[in-house]
Amino acid sequence: MSKENFTFAVFSENKAGLLQRVVSGFTRRKINIESLTVSESEVPGIHRYTIVVEGLDEALVKKVCTALEKQVDVQKAFYYRESDIIYREIAMYKVRAESMKEGSPGLAIVDKHHARILSVEEGFTVIQKTGRREATQALFVELEPHGILEFVRSGRIAISRPMKQLKTYLDELALASTH
């Protein structure tokens, strides 16, 4: 079976300890989590975990997903191939003020990569770039020779292509829970 990258979307109420329970679904199978982002979803009170794993068989991913969904406090768990989602990461780069002077190569690089200057501070400038991993990495590679003082990249966030809404799933679940 071929190895692929997968993105999980796990929905739950925001409760202490649940993150550990969700992560345990991966660690017990020695699956390394590439990135993990948690934030509130479109449904009030429901949080969305976006978890990226790399180079796995779909069969295993499916087992992880059903095991996650079985957790008492987890509403729904989905997994997606790269083609099933629209996804982005955000990266921030802290560089010396002089590398971003008028007419400097730094500024040209920022333009070329459609990045933007987020903040100009005493002695340093913060650049922001949103995109896929390759895009934020390409900017990193070009800026590096000019000196990067600090770099941070967020975990992936992803929107799924299927049109069924979370609210519909939750209504179905609430109905089934009283059976």
Binding site: G17, T27, K63, A176, S177, T178, H179
Partner: protein, 577 residues
């Protein structure tokens, strides 16, 4: 699992009363119908113990000798009674000592609520005396867990804990309560939990799947039922019997499914698995439709998955969605409760007989009898065997006792040869394989089913892992019968060393204490037998004795358990010798 036995809720849940958190804990337990719990006191749980003292007429506390014993006793209690087992311990080491039992209950789907004390909220994370993050520790091995830091959280958390423990696929729940929450006062009222919006314990059956399953069964020439503990947990014994009788299907039990059907039912063909019966294993690769009910295709059942029943269409009736397609790919998945599923399936099933197919199992039985069972159960040399001991035990109990086992050779022999005439009669650590499970689980089983004879079949290795629980028998006067099969070896490991490690008996020979003197020290009647002519009478005496009893049977030191599917081998490659 039925909830009726635990629905003894308080008359008027809406009235409130100002009480402490620790009293609320006890009141919640009583409201859930709990009248017995197993535990060990300590600093962080003392306020609750103070309330247990006040409520001792309504809630009986059994003092174990080690917290692990509390969990196994709670498991034995749960499995014998069908109710939720409750264990209680203090923080830190008291709590960590529960973990083996929690993991055991998780893998064997046993409803259990574990209550632990915790350091006060203000000290959390400070490495306070006897502080341990027990919820963090227990997350990977529990069905659910919650740390209570305010008294007012207690009723809702306890209600949810009992609901989660016993519903769906049952399992263990851990409730950790900080000491300040035990002291805190609040307005108490209790309402049982009847649903959780994120949790579907009883999936809605899909009619089309039932019909697809029925079509497969009705057209099968060699249908084969594999059933597990799910049948017992959903109390579906009658539905199973009706289904297999109507369709004339040979049926094998997993180790956890033992006693869900009578041993001598003509369609009961025996046990699956590594040390199961010959026919049930080899017929996996002969059947055309496999109907798995409330079982999870454990690796000890399937052996090499790529050579497991590949020719068969697979129907899997299972309440836990994550078990479907986990190990064996299913053709028809019936996601739901076993009792409901089989009751719905029954009218769709045609009446049939599969006599020649059943005969194939009987032919295998004959072969197994000649090569394995005859020597094991009717030995001609002077050394006693485990098999003949269990066979003789059957004669004494009539197959009506609850058999609790520990883990190892004696477990496999007991599961192979013990006879059952009623459900919930086999209590063993199947999934986790926890040595030390037997003795405390037997104590719990006897307290959960006091009207029944409870036999703890145990080896000389396993009994020493939790032998301190003899103290419970002494203090609480539990009439457990301990059948110690002593081969002066860690027998199963020794068997593997003999077969797969060229007889290098690394750390498996046991220099044992005098078990008779130990029994005497605990004021437990005992006897030791090494001669065949005394075996039956000794067993009879053990059963008839009005009180706890330890019967030590000296069995062959280097006897092996056969048949055996070597680890990783195909079920078809089962070895008879």
């Amino acid at each position: 699992m039925s909830t009726t036995s635990q629905q003894k809720t308080e008359a008027n849940p809406t009235t409130t009363e100002r009480i402490t958190g620790s009293e609320a804990v006890v009141r919640c337990l009583i409201a859930e119908g709990v009248d017995l719990l197993f535990g060990y006191p300590g600093g962080a749980i003392m306020p609750v113990y103070d309330e247990l003292y006040k409520y001792k007429d309504e809630l009986h506390h059994v003092l174990v000798r080690h917290e692990q014993g509390a969990t196994h006793a709670a498991q034995g209690y749960a499995r014998a009674s069908g109710r939720v087992g409750v264990a209680i311990a203090t923080s830190g080491p008291g709590a960590t000592n529960l973990i083996t039992g929690v993991a055991d209950a998780m893998i064997d789907s046993t409803p259990m609520v574990c209550i632990t004390g915790q350091v006060p909220k203000d000290l959390l994370g400070s490495d306070a005396f006897q502080e341990c993050d027990i919820i963090g520790v227990s997350i990977p091995v529990s069905k659910w867990g919650f740390q209570i830091t305010e008294a007012s959280e207690i009723p809702a958390v306890f209600a949810k804990a009992f609901y989660v423990a016993k519903s769906g696929r049952p399992g263990p729940v851990v409730i950790d309560i900080t000491k300040n929450a035990q002291f805190g006062e609040f307005d108490f009222s209790y309402e049982p939990c009847t649903n959780i919006s994120t949790y579907v314990p009883r999936p809605i059956l899909k009619k089309e799947k039932l019909q697809e399953a029925a079509d497969l069964i009705n057209n099968a020439e060699k249908p084969y039922v594999l059933f597990g503990q799910g049948v017992i947990l959903s109390e579906a014994e009658a539905e199973l019997k009706a289904l297999v009788e109507k369709a004339g299907i040979p049926s094998a039990w997993t180790i956890m499914g033992l006693s869900a059907m009578d041993t001598d039912h003509p369609l009961n063909v025996g046990m699956l698995g590594m040390h199961g019966n010959y026919g049930p294993n080899v017929m996996i690769n002969q059947c055309d439709v496999m109907i798995a009910i409330g079982m999870r295709f454990d690796d000890r059942v399937t052996g090499n998955l790529s050579k497991f029943g590949k020719q068969a269409k697979v129907i899997h009736i299972e309440i836990d969605r994550s078990e479907i397609d986990k190990n064996v790919k299913t053709d028809v998945a019936i996601h739901g409760d076993a009792k409901e599923a089989m009751a719905s399936l029954l009218p769709l099933i045609k009446e049939q007989q599969h006599e020649s197919w059943l005969q194939e199992f009987r032919d295998c039985d004959q072969k197994e009898y000649e090569i394995v069972i005859k020597d094991e159960c009717e030995p001609t040399d002077s050394t006693l065997t485990m098999g003949e001991t269990i066979k003789k035990l059957n004669e004494v109990t009539g197959g009506n006792a609850i058999i609790v086992t520990d883990v190892g050779q004696h477990q496999m022999v007991a599961c192979r040869y013990a006879e059952f005439r009623q459900s919930k009669s086999n209590i063993t650590s199947g999934g986790l394989g926890t040595m030390g499970f037997g003795l405390p689980a037997a104590i719990g089983a006897k307290l959960g089913a006091p009207e029944r004879d409870v036999i703890c079949v145990v080896g000389d290795g396993g009994i020493q892992m939790t032998i301190e629980e003899l103290g419970v028998i002494l203090q609480t006067d539990v009439h457990v019968k301990i059948l110690l099969l002593n081969n002066e070896f860690l027998g199963m490991v020794r068997q593997w060393q003999q077969l797969f490690f060229d007889k290098r008996y690394s750390a498996t020979e046991m220099v044992n204490p005098n078990f008779q003197l130990i029994a005497k020290a605990y004021d437990i009647e005992s006897n030791k037998v090494s001669e065949r002519e005394n075996l039956s009478d000794s067993l009879k005496k053990m059963i008839e004795h009005d009180g706890a009893y330890l019967l030590e049977v000296m069995v062959g030191k280097e006897n092996n358990v056969f048949p055996m599917v070597p680890a990783g081998a195909a079920v078809a490659d089962i070895r008879l010798e």
